[in-house]
């Protein structure tokens, strides 16, 4: 199943600046030319309708512990209004972070791809609550300890327990789009979307942009 990992990024100027990333190729890590497309809204009230998405390919060799290794090809995408950076992979990667770290170290200081999305907790909760199904949820309690899905069940009966004040350690939820189930996981401050249907993935990304990223107008 293909997966898309969403990150927040800062690229000054506009998306044209992103094109320069394709000049960053080094030994064993190359970026292809960047294409531009316009994003059309799939969900109601999509606030970034018409934004530009710049996408291209990253190719690199992943070393294996016992020799050998494999060639990895990832599609990356930058959206110039929501400032999301998205890495699409057809295979499970041991570490998306290592790819992000290489991109950060290759690019100039003013380009940054962050590890955490750093979104408003309340809006993230609203987004997850709108899922069709919550499969798993782990929160971070007052003392830094984790509160599992099972423990939450008993805590929810406590009158003073306000679940949405707690940071989310991880959440696995399912959304659906035109009959397609979209497995969505939030962990360590990043979101990953798992679906074999690219339009379903795009729909979920747009939901996240609309409900969590866009200026809420507060």
């Amino acid at each position: 199943m293909g997966s898309s990992s969403l990150r927040r990024t800062r690229i000054p100027g506009n998306g044209q600046r992103f094109r320069e990333l394709s000049d960053l190729s080094t030994n064993g890590f190359s970026l292809s030319d960047v294409d531009e497309r316009t994003v059309g809204g799939l969900c109601d009230g999509y606030p970034f309708d018409g934004q530009s998405a710049y996408s291209g390919l990253i190719e690199y060799s992943e070393d294996a512990m016992w020799g050998g290794g494999r060639e990895i090809e990832l599609e990356f995408q930058f959206r110039d209004q929501s400032n999301l950076f998205i890495l699409d992979a057809e295979v499970d990667l041991p570490s998306v972070e290592s790819v992000i770290q290489r991109l950060n170290s290759l690019s100039s200081d003013d380009v940054k791809i962050y590890r955490s999305l750093t979104v408003h907790r309340e809006r993230l909760w609203d987004f997850l609550n709108n899922a069709d199904k919550i499969i798993d949820l782990t929160l971070i309690g007052d003392q830094g300890t984790e509160i599992s899905f099972e423990e939450l069940d008993s805590e929810l009966h406590e009158p003073e327990f306000e679940i949405e004040q707690y940071p989310i350690e991880s959440a696995t939820v399912v959304f659906s789009y035109e009959g397609e189930q979209i497995l969505t996981r939030y962990t360590d401050g990043a979101l990953s979307v798992h679906s074999d249907v690219s339009e379903a993935t795009e729909y979920l990304v747009q939901l996240f942009e609309r409900d969590v990223i866009a200026d809420s107008g507060d």
Binding site: S116, G144, T145, D188, G189
Partner: protein, 203 residues
């Protein structure tokens, strides 16, 4: 808020930062020295007025300092997290040393922030050296703004006085085997006062 009774948690949120700052001031040093001299003198002279003056020499400057520089009102308790058998757990040993161990170049810190109810606004700045990055996992409350470039968390009309935060600190370019110690400083962005300092250690 004036006139209302403050909860123990909020008095603690004010008292500890106040005590920490006052103890390091010249005023505390000077009044402590004079108070001690007067206290010894009161014993030698068996003089109650001198003893009272000695007590006053300790108390009055502290009260004056509090009134002049109040409010002291941001308290942050952070616990570094370590991974044991694949499970994340609080690293109480590192916490007791005001340290956070960066394993494989990174460490997560979790904790709580208490803002004094006397404060209407706050600015918290997280600062680390250039080689290190720090990110806030999420923005705790809808009334908060976070500047990811400057690592500043702020609120103008505060209504939530206690909230949890999660921080990720990591090397921009991690090289295995390096041993370093870097400071993570958390400051009150209004006046630059230090709220908390943690040593980020690689081992």
């Amino acid at each position: 808020m004036a006139g209302e009774l403050l909860s123990i948690a909020h008095l603690r949120a004010e008292f500890r930062p106040f005590l920490s700052e006052y103890k390091s001031s010249i005023l505390a040093w000077g009044s402590g020295l004079l108070g001690t001299i007067l206290w010894i003198a009161s014993s030698v002279l068996s003089s109650t007025p001198v003893a009272v003056s000695a007590a006053g020499m300790y108390i009055v400057p502290a009260v004056g300092y509090y009134v002049a520089y109040r409010p002291f009102g941001i308290q942050i308790d952070l616990t570094p997290i370590t991974t044991v058998d694949g499970e994340k757990e609080p690293d109480k040993v590192a916490e007791s040393r005001d340290e956070a161990i960066l394993r494989e170049g990174e460490c997560e810190l979790r904790g709580g922030v208490t803002i004094s109810e006397r404060l209407n606004s706050f600015i918290i700045q997280f600062s680390v050296p250039d080689d290190i990055r720090i990110e806030l996992r999420d923005i705790p409350c809808s009334e908060h703004d976070y500047d990811a470039e400057k690592n500043i968390l702020r609120a103008d009309d505060v209504s939530v006085y206690r909230f949890s935060i999660v921080l990720l600190v990591y090397f921009e370019e991690y090289v295995d085997g390096q041993t370093y110690e870097y400071p993570l400083k958390i400051r009150d962005g209004e006046d630059g006062k230090s709220i908390q300092s943690i040593d980020l250690v690689t081992r």
